[in-house]
Each structure stands twice: as C-alpha cells, then as structure tokens.
Point group: C2
Chain length 203, copies 2
C-alpha cells in the first residue's frame, strides 16, 4: 500500500517516536524524513515554511497540508480507532494525561535527557539538572499513583495517552532518572511493550 | 438552574479564566471555589486528594469525579457544541493550537506575568525575564503569522483554541510584552472580545 502520510522527525526524539509507534500500531503506511533538530534543521527556511513553530514531529497529510504537535498528531491518527476512546469523558481523560505529559513531564524528563545526551559534558546547562530531576520525579510520582490504581492512563485500556507518556518515560534513565521507586510504573512500561505491533525507540 | 459543575480556580490565573470564559459562553451554571496557588493552597493535602498534580483549574463533575488540565476541561465542556468543531482534521487543528499554547506559549508568556505580578521586585527570578521574553515573542510571532492569514486559529471560526490562546495573550503586557508589533493578533483579541457572552478576566 502506498504511503499516505509523511513524517518529518528525528528518530531519537521521544516526541517523534510517539508518532512512529502510533503509525505502526495502526498499521498506517508512511514515509519518514529524518530532520535533525540538534543540527538546526528544524530552523531552516525550508522547514519553517512547513512548520512556522520550527519543531518536529510534523505530519504531512495526503493533501499536502501539515499538522504539527506530537499529541495533536496522535489524536488525528487515532480518531475512530481503538487507540482513542469515543466517550466525552473518556476523550477528556486521554487529553488530561496528554496535556500533563507536555506541561508537567516532558519539560523535565525529556529536557534532562536532551542535556545529558546531546550536549557536551562541560555544558553549563548541566546546572539545570537538579531542578529538572526534582520536577521530573514529581511527574513520575503522579504517574505512579495513577498506575497503582489502574492498568492504563485513561478509560481502563491502552490508548494514545499511554503512547504519549511512554515515549520519554521508558528512556528516563538517559536523563539520569532512577525508576526503581516506581514499581507500578515499571509494570506499565512492560504492559505497553507487549501491546500488538509495538516497536521500540530506534537505538 | 442548579450548578452542575464546580470549578476550583484562582481568578487571576489565565488557565483558570479559560474555564470561566467557556462556561459563561456555553451558559453552563457553575460554582467557583477560589484556590490561591500563590499561598500554597494547591499543595494542601485536601487539594492534592482531588488533584495529585497540585494545579488549578480543576473541574468537579456532577458525579463527584475531578478533571484537571485547563485544555482538557475546555475539550470536555465544548464537546458537541459550536466551540469545538467535529471534523477529524478540524479537531486536530484545535488541539494543535492548544498543545502549542501549553508548550510554546504559556511557559513564557504566563510565567513572565507570574514573576512580575506575584513575586517581589527584588526576586532573583527576574533574571529569567530576557529568555522568557525571547521565547514568548517567538510564540507571539507564530500566532501573528496564523492570524494574518485567518480570522481564528482553527476551522475558520471561534473555538476553544481561541479561548486557550486568548487567556494569557490578552494580558501579556502584565509580563512585559509589547504587542505593538503584532497588528493581526491585536485585531484577533478584539474579535474574541466581541464574541457572544464574552466575559473579561476579573481584575
């Protein structure tokens, strides 16, 4: 089947991995165009013409229009599939956790990983790590509390809320986070990894 | 009509104002319980039992359950109303701008306001302002580009995407942002203010 979607993404980015995982689990053919934000490729004039906010992932639709924002892309791709519950409150619960991910989790868990993974060991940005770890652990503790009570984040089943939160949580150790104190969270990571058509972050 | 919803919110917060504005525009009766996050009231044991992430706004539903995250609340309240388009791509466009708001706009435009409005003039956090202004203006420039081409953010009409972005943009001057260079954005602010049942941020 011909690819309907084109993804502009950086393979090592958790935000981009979300889109790859959803496309694979939904069995949607796609083309992947590698864009390396660590080399400034998201700030080129050509890329900014596609996404004025200068970020990946970016989804190109069959009609040539572009959709940015990883979690908006997940909602678009999953609409009408089992990965996105249809009830009014269930949909809101999925979004609750996806906004939590972008506001209370990613800016700490992903940014700590980015500093340790992409910047030199003498980067002055390492001074940010204690605060990032403090806030990141606050987010992980909120997740642990949810996962001690329920198997998944929303509607009692695997959804794009789990994909969104799995992306940077499963590789939190890259950012210096020890997940040892979160047993329910670690069991959830394993549940995600056993979902049909699961694919890992490319390493 | 009896109130169906209870909002836990801080009246001066833009994130909480989003919920107030949507409830008013949807003519939904509600009870408002003031929670002052600047006095630690969102970190009390009683509040954390309602929202483990310790943030306002928080919506209490008729069944006694709680929904956090301002933009998830907006999606819940507006579902099935003219404030949330129903098409698959239109819904994704609304979410695109709402995730943009929480990731690329609020952490700069709202945080600059918070530093200047709630912290003493000698706060060391004022050192963050140059970076907050740089990133905030990047977000405002992305908005200006959209609003120079279209009257609203998604689906060609007023939606919860506009409510989400209006909340902290209209009071950006509180954070030291000069909107003079954004004529399309200023015209949009006026369009929002003339929508039916509009209510201003309480001052």
């Amino acid at each position: 089947m011909a690819a309907v979607f084109t993804v502009y993404g950086m393979s090592d980015s958790g935000n981009c991995y979300k889109v790859r995982l959803a496309l694979e689990q939904l069995a949607l053919p796609h083309r992947w165009i590698e864009v390396d934000s660590t080399r400034g490729e998201t700030r080129s004039a050509a890329f900014l013409a596609k996404n004025p906010n200068g970020k990946v992932p970016l989804l190109e639709l069959a009609d040539g229009s572009f959709l940015p924002e990883s979690n908006a892309i997940l909602n678009y791709l999953a609409d009408g599939t089992p990965l996105l519950p249809q009830g009014r409150l269930e949909r809101a619960r999925v979004l609750q956790w996806m906004f939590f991910e972008q506001y209370s989790h990613e800016p700490y868990v992903a940014v700590a990983r980015s500093i340790l993974r992409y910047l030199p060991p003498d980067s002055p940005r390492r001074a940010e790590l204690p605060r990032l770890h403090e806030r990141g652990h606050q987010a992980l503790a909120v997740m642990e509390r949810q996962l001690a009570a329920e198997p998944f984040f929303a509607a009692g089943r695997y959804s794009i809320a789990d994909i969104a939160l799995y992306a940077y949580t499963h590789c939190a150790a890259d950012g210096g986070f020890d997940l040892g104190r979160y047993p329910a969270l670690r069991a959830w990571l394993e549940r995600v990894q056993t979902q049909p058509r699961f694919v890992p972050l490319p390493r």
